[in-house]
Subunit: 224 residues, 2 copies
């Protein structure tokens, strides 16, 4: 499958690297390719240029080119800027595509822990679906840290839960297949895209569990 | 231990019944004892009068009397009315007491699923602690349905997680002991009372999992 990951942060690189490793034709989209390649202020990890050198199967493209390439597009941008980034991809490049939204609308303006920019009776997943009505938005993976997204076996016996929200059942089935390739075995379909209000509002609890455990390497398992 | 459960709904009765069963001297507090005893519009379960007849070790008292009796007081009232109910108990009857808050500030005014009356940068647990600064507030059990609160063995192998939030370490230790009596083995102390923002904001996800599973008999286990 041709996969376009929008966003060059840790989440985007982790997802793109894993998709390429699984044999998917994978590109990463960024607003300004040359600026991204010359960026040296990495977030503690390698620069994007270093990362691309180590992942030669992945190509870096501008946003419209990445969107045009992908059959499946992943929003791995900062949640506070996702609508703007996806506008850069272009509605025409998202129309009919499965758009996997893994972002959270975190507001760091008042420090840590962040609050949510949208919540309660709306959410980022819904905002994206409204803004790009011809995209087939599926919210998932936003409840775990990047390393766990692509390798759920890193926590416990690998049997923790990942959630799906979206209005398009075939799109959710396609995404569930990709999640299974990542190693997910317990995939819980919560329903339509409004159910992403639930997984986005889980973030404040995730942040407190992170604080109590001093590590983001965890997940929850739904047991019943 | 002398335990006063404030609230005669399913949550209050379930907690009070279990505390009495464990040998604690237990009372239930209600605003108007005679009105509560004559109430016939049960929420699908037995009336309070029937329930008291079946649980003769539990006494029904008015709010100040219940608060005055309890060494440990449990807020099991409707979250939208908790501050008002606890005002009825009286600050003087809560001073120095461990006040276990199991309520959620749910807003059903726009139907189901409810939204939250307070969230993000404040929560009900903090509101209660601010309103009753001499009480030792511990938030817990608000992430599971009543039956699971007092019998975690009902889900899976009983090893799911319950959370604690509060500013007073000895109060949290006392509550952890009571939770262990209920059968909880995985008790995760998240930190001070502000961490209750996390567990209260989990409710929207809890409601969507409820919707997907068609049953409230579940819980999450934190795995890492």
């Amino acid at each position: 499958m041709r996969i376009a990951v929008i966003g060059t942060g840790v989440v985007g690189r982790t997802l793109a690297g894993r998709c390429a490793e699984l044999g998917h034709e994978t590109v990463v989209g960024t607003r300004d390719v040359s600026a991204t390649l010359s960026r040296t202020d990495g977030d503690g990890s390698a620069t994007v240029a270093d990362w691309l050198a180590a992942n030669p199967a992945v190509r870096l493209l501008d946003l419209p080119s990445a969107g045009g390439f992908g059959e499946l597009v992943v929003n791995a941008t900062n949640g506070a800027a996702s609508l703007q980034s996806l506008a850069g991809v272009g509605a025409e490049n998202l129309a009919g595509k499965v758009l996997v939204d893994v972002a959270n609308p975190l507001d760091f303006s008042r420090g840590f822990p962040p609050t949510l920019l949208v919540k309660d009776d709306d959410c980022l997943g819904e905002q994206i679906q409204r803004e790009f009505p011809d995209a087939r938005v599926v919210k998932t993976l936003n409840t775990v840290t990047a390393a766990v997204m692509v390798d759920p076996g890193q926590v416990g016996d690998g049997g923790t839960t990942v959630f799906l929200s979206g209005d398009d059942a075939p799109a959710k089935a396609l995404v569930a297949g990709l999640l299974a390739e990542f190693g997910w075995r317990d995939i819980l379909d919560l329903g339509d895209i409004t159910t992403a209000r639930g997984t986005e509002m889980y973030l404040p609890l995730w942040l407190r569990i992170l604080g109590a455990r001093n590590s983001p390497q965890f997940n929850i398992r739904v047991v019943g």
